[in-house]
């Protein structure tokens, strides 16, 4: 075995080390290259698209369900009609709305 592949003698092998993450199969070189190229070329595009969509959604939820965060809005009839559709997103929405943010969050 070449030296650079030798496991460190003083370190016990930890669970998960060198094994694919949960739900992933062993990756081939083609898959690695594909993921790397995607990461370089398109991953930030995907994130921006998700951010744009999420901003619009969160604004909409704030307008209709703002009272869940203590924003004093009149509880309109349509909020109740929309509530079942919003319920799955409420936990992440609250977390994003209440998380401390600063200017560096606007960069990435």
């Amino acid at each position: 075995m070449p030296f650079w592949k030798k496991p460190k003698a003083n370190l016990p092998k930890q669970e998960g080390q060198g094994e694919p993450a949960e739900g992933q199969s062993k990756e081939g070189l083609g898959s690695v290259v594909k993921q790397f190229v995607y990461g370089m070329a398109a991953h930030d595009m995907t994130r921006y698209a998700l951010k744009t969509r999420s901003s619009m959604e969160h604004l909409f939820i704030l307008i209709t369900m703002g009272d869940l965060l203590g924003v004093p809005i009149l509880p309109p009839y349509y909020s109740l009609r929309l509530l079942p559709y919003v319920v799955p997103q409420i936990s992440t929405w609250k977390r994003r709305m209440l998380r401390e943010k600063d200017l560096t969050d606007a960069l990435f």
């Binding site: 650079w4 460190k8 370190l11 930890q14 669970e15 998960g16 080390q17 993450a21 992933q24 990756e27 898959s31 690695v32 993921q35 790397f36 190229v37 995607y38 990461g39 370089m40 070329a41 398109a42 991953h43 930030d44 595009m45 994130r47 921006y48 698209a49 998700l50 951010k51 744009t52 999420s54 992440t92 977390r95 994003r96 998380r99 401390e100 943010k101 600063d102 200017l103 560096t104 969050d105 606007a106 960069l107 990435f108």
Partner: protein, 568 residues
Amino acid sequence: MSSVFALVVALVVAVLGYRWYAGYIDANVIKADPKRATPAKMYMDGVDFIPTGRHVLFGYQFKSIAALGPITGPIVAMKWGWLPALAWILGGALLFGWAHDYASAFLTIRNDGQSFGALSYRLISPRGRATLLAFIYFYLLLILAAFGSIVANMLVKNPVVPVAIVALMITGTLAGQAIYRKRMDIIAVTLVMVALSLVGVWLGTIWKIPIASFDLWLLFTLFFCYLGAVLPIWAYAQPINYISFYLVALGMLGAIIGIFLGRPPLTLPAYTGFFTKTGEPLWPLLFVTIACGAISGWHSLVSSSGTGRQIENERDVKYVAAGAMFTEMVLATLAVIIAAGAVGANGFAEAMKGGPANVFTQGMASLLGFLGIGQTFGVAFAGAMFAILAITIMQLVVRFMRVATVEIAGEKVPILGNMHVGALLALFLGYVLVKTGTWNYIWTLFGGSNQLMAALALMLASIWLAREGKAWGWTFYPMLFMLATTIVALAVTAHSMVFTVVPGLQAGTVVPPAGQSVAAAIAGNYIAAAIGVFLIVAALILAYDGLRAFFKVKGEKASQAAAPSHSA
């Protein structure tokens, strides 16, 4: 010295640093735990916090950290010879750079995904956060000025490049419409648009635009940034970055193959002396002239706010953060080879008259020439590649400064809330700095602010490590070195501007940059010196607060260890 040998040495350093030093810290100090839930898993919101595969993140991290810095810095640093530049790139990345990126990522991961503002508030002081954010604003302004100036200078010297840039903008915008609006197949769109971009580069070699007006090309560059800052990101900035990525990747691949085919020797002097002809000392100025490639504060922002929130498994951090840093080190070595080998002793001085971008385009064209690509096409290709790398970052910076302006003054001055006003204000500030400043000094200030950012990230990491009772020397001593070096570098630069350049301009012994009046150059030197002084003051405040916090934490840990146990 053979360029291939330099590249091989860089690869060996990268492998050894990654496997042994980074591997040791990862396993024995941080103890990356694959079972520990990362913020990406704990707070998954599908947007900011999203578990992402390690190979994807490696690509994302590398793309985000490797822009113009690792290319421009080494070229500028050739004034001390290629050996100090190469030594700092390899040594800096090995001892400082990877540790900085890796620790920044772990800072966020082990602190609930918090960004640097929140971390400095908690770990240093409330004043620390405000100072840090003001500091970042000026840091970004300097990026805008430094990159804008480089691109404009390069366009003055290379009339084959402008058409290629416009072609890239058009093909990128069309790609955005095709992918997002028409929902066409992304692979087909990519192939067609990349091919059209190459046709655009070729057209640039036929339709030359020989306008030697720095002002015009500066406005041309800033106009693209304005569009990038105000248009929807999917419609303009992103698809252009996406298409240009393929050109950049092709160019880099071609350059590496060119090095192995041509094996150009490094013909520039290995070492020219401690002082340059204009009296710039190697220490501290080399260490701020070359930032990216050795250590760069920009990476800490990427590692914390960007990558740290997407890490799926703690064991991926070494691969993503340290791996990308060592890869960038190899890219910076490539820039040394381009300057000292591909352009070399015969053409470097002449090419440098058009700035480092011109050296890069000439050198890249020489390397691509080993693959049988014509010199003119090579220059147009490399020029477009360089410009797009700069404009990509500049667009991001203007967009960020627009947001920052609204946050800072939007409530008091409502008109600043308008996105066009915010973007134009940022561009105006950048324009004033470029028009009045001397490029060399702007680059040094930019490098200094970048390295200070790195020192601050290392300081945050050291305080956190001390709080956790972990070994902190691997971030603390690099932090001390970077802090001292950059504060001295900024002081030397500000002093030179006020006490050497300004009197020289007044006496007529120093010639103002082309197209500048003496009065404007004097004003510019004072503005840049004031920014330098501001950065020093901000750094000193943060250093004072940070070191106080660090020693307080260390003292508490020591007293806890010395206190007798009261448990029964």
